[in-house]
Symmetry: C2
Subunit: 479 residues, 2 copies
């Protein structure tokens, strides 16, 4: 048996069905390759089936042995060969260069994410349309919730529920297998598209009681989700959407403990973050369990403040959405979202996309997926291309309040990307390289054009078209 590096290897065992196997049975396995030993958690998959999933990150021969308090599951052994990764498989995304990301194989990863919170709860037709849209939309990360959503525009019942029904309520200690199989399938499909699944483990928009489970039920649920999904290389853990709106039921120490549980049960150390609701309620992202910063904040010119405050990569994953709904977080223009995205990027951070246009059947991309109807997404795809053509290390923002507190500028070595936005200078000299020849391009961020101005040397201001929405790109040239 063989599996590619960073692929998913699954051990399937048969064990007890009596009692509550989700709770009563402990299962894990140790996977060994030379000096490398990794312990992976197992989980009950229904109908007497138990699974242990494993993502090998070293090529060669692996062996494993299971451990369980059930004799039927204990001491099961086996082996497999880990082969080279297939094309397009770069491994999991890691923090790199302090404020940036990279795949484990060394390939750069510049996060261009979008948001479909409840897309896996919409039924096959819409879910497949969402996947079709994502194929070409240009995003490489998707924020998505495990639990279904109850909110404006989100009143439909899901097809699956995460827990087994018990009378009029739920047995929070028994997971619904059909639900989790469906979730896994959708997560795997995102992986096949090269899209990181930023999995939101808790959120407040709930009418079923999932947001108000007892802490021990939350902890067990977390262990279950992590055991079932951690071996997918493209999984990220987002502890919450808007954790601060749940503080009454889940105080801060509970959130801190959630981070510990996820970290302890995920042998691959996937990225972990948490997202705030109120702009004044950022989590303390300096805590060691947090790998990168997520903020919800419209005021994207503060990106450098967040980078400095937390010393980690920053994703403003809700800098308001393109749309026209009555809520202000969901009715900015496409131009404004493109503007904010550019500011985040050039200031050395990342941003998130979402679409919230009114729809006759309440199918808003931000929550349900479907098709993209806005105008920002192609511009963000264009921006992603610009960034991917740039330095592999990522863009570091220029320091100082003047002039860089007014216009966003950053770079890497003599590569520079200066975004003017609402500014329209006829010439600009700040931030030009002190030494060496360079090519200067004007990028129209809305029209998605790149116009080469020529080759220059020195810091004499360069003439620009003097209209809004432009960026200046400087790239060093030989000679």
């Amino acid at each position: 048996m063989s599996v590619e590096k960073w692929g998913l290897f699954e051990v399937e065992l048969t064990g007890p069905t009596e009692g509550n196997p989700f709770v009563d049975v402990q299962l894990s396995a140790e996977f060994k390759n030379g000096d490398t030993t990794i312990k992976a958690p197992g989980f009950y998959d229904g109908d007497g089936t138990y699974k242990i999933r494993f993502m090998p990150s070293v090529e060669g021969e692996w062996s494993y042995a299971s451990k369980s308090d059930s004799s039927a599951l204990d001491g099961q052994t086996g082996s497999f060969t880990c082969t080279a990764p297939a094309e397009g498989n770069h491994g999991p995304v890691r923090v790199r260069n302090q404020h940036h990301f990279g795949y484990e194989d060394g390939t750069s990863y510049f996060s261009f994410g979008t948001t479909c919170y409840a897309w896996v709860h919409q039924g096959d037709a819409l879910e497949e349309q969402t996947l079709k849209t994502l194929e070409t939309a240009g995003f490489n990360k998707l924020r998505m919730c495990v639990f279904p959503k109850d909110y404006i525009f989100n009143k439909n019942e899901p097809e699956y529920y995460p827990f087994e029904k018990q009378g009029d309520g739920w047995d929070f200690s028994r997971y619904d297998i059909a639900f989790f199989h469906h979730l896994e399938k959708r997560v795997a499909e995102l992986g096949a598209l090269g899209i990181e699944a930023d999995i939101i483990l808790f959120h407040p928009y709930d009418r079923w009681g999932y947001a108000k489970m007892a802490h021990e039920e939350d902890y067990a649920y977390l262990r279950y989700v992590v055991a079932s999904l951690a071996a997918y290389r493209h999984v990220w853990w987002s502890l919450a959407n808007e954790y601060d709106f749940m503080l009454k039921d889940k105080p801060m120490e509970v959130w801190d403990h959630f981070f510990e549980i996820v970290q302890e049960n995920d042998p691959y150390d996937h990225l972990r973050s948490i997202h705030n609701g109120n702009v004044t309620m950022n989590y303390d992202h300096t805590k060691p369990g947090v790998t990168h910063v997520c903020v919800q904040n419209w005021d994207v010119k503060r990106m450098r403040e967040w980078r400095d405050a937390y010393g980690k990569p920053v994703i403003d994953d809700e800098c308001e959405y393109e749309g026209n709904i009555l809520r202000n977080w969901g009715n900015i223009t496409a131009r404004e979202l493109v503007h904010r995205y550019w500011i985040c990027i050039v200031y050395g951070g990342y941003a998130g996309h979402g679409e919230t246009y009114e729809h006759p059947e309440d199918i808003l991309w931000w929550s349900k997926g479907g098709v993209l109807v806005g105008e920002s997404w192609p511009r963000l795809k264009f921006l992603r291309g610009i960034v991917e053509e740039g330095p592999a290390e990522g863009i570091e923002p220029f320091a100082g309040s003047f002039p860089w507190g007014r216009t966003a500028g950053g770079g890497c070595g003599n590569y520079r990307l200066i975004y003017f936005g609402e500014h329209q200078p006829k010439r600009f000299g700040n931030g030009l390289p002190e030494e060496g020849r360079y090519e200067a391009d004007v990028i129209d961020t809305w029209e998605m054009t790149v116009e080469t101005l020529g080759t220059f040397e020195g810091q004499e201001p360069i003439e620009l078209p003097g209209r809004p929405g432009l960026a200046l790109r400087i790239r060093p040239v030989e000679g």
Copy 2:
């Protein structure tokens, strides 16, 4: 002899010419009307002429008696009648309703200012063109410097200098009479147009040495300017443009003392403020000598923070200028300046205009005046009309971060003005009156149109056109 209320009454006396009359001679006069006694400072006006200017604020019979250490000037007496103010004369502007302004006669004053720093140093042709432009531009305040300016686009020599020449330098203890006559004339002309003269007493952009005089020379200069100009009812004192760029030469206690000197020597207690350069360097505007807050800050959504921090009227008098020059403070689009102005207003503050378009002869409105070539000024004039049609008390911002930290909204009673800017909701319900009928209008802030949507009652969301740059106005109606 008679003078209208808040008009300018001038006593002219002949006195000693020997020595340095600017320094050697003390002169003032007490003006009395019934129980009211006001002491006004005098000043030397050259050629043996001394003047005492006085602005009466009580109608009826006034008498005066001069006081001087020169016998020729001491004990001179006289009287005049103060008549009712002429039409359009509303008296000086005062702070009113904590965060707003009003003329002394009770008429509202909503500050819509522009900036021509060095306009009085450009020669008659250009200065008269500036006045012509201001006649119809719609601004009711002008920021202007006493001293000439040395800066990019400002390399021309002025016609007049504020001090008498002494060898290659200046005698900072002798004021140039032609300079001050010219300044007074231009200040008076602004008054005739109904424009408040926001007179900037110090600034750092200097090649003549005026920014680096000894403190005692600064103090004497301040007393002289105040004595000569304070009796013009439309004068405001701005201690500095960008005081923080002069801290090396004038430390904080010197600025504090400047406020004291101006306050002591101005019997009419004209408005006093000071303007920062770096956005992190706001003066402590809570100090008692400061009547209102001036800030330079592009981040206008912070307006409510400044109001709360200082508890006084706030003017963001440099929220960046419309233009296309290479400096970022001077190259935002007209749309962006209109956008920022609206945000300031609806958040219960005021803003400042300036234009900085490249010009073949370096005649940029922001400094030299001339003609307006941009597109924001008519929109600001339109906004002024909207505000003047609104509540006399001024607009108070809605409280709370949600949703009013994202979209600017404010009002007064059941009058509401909600500015959407980059937001484009198809319907909106926040901020509607809880009780009573009201008319709702959509204002297109760029097209300068007002469309009435009809009469409503209750808080059901109102349908909107769903495009950017709109405001919603709510006005209570009878019935």
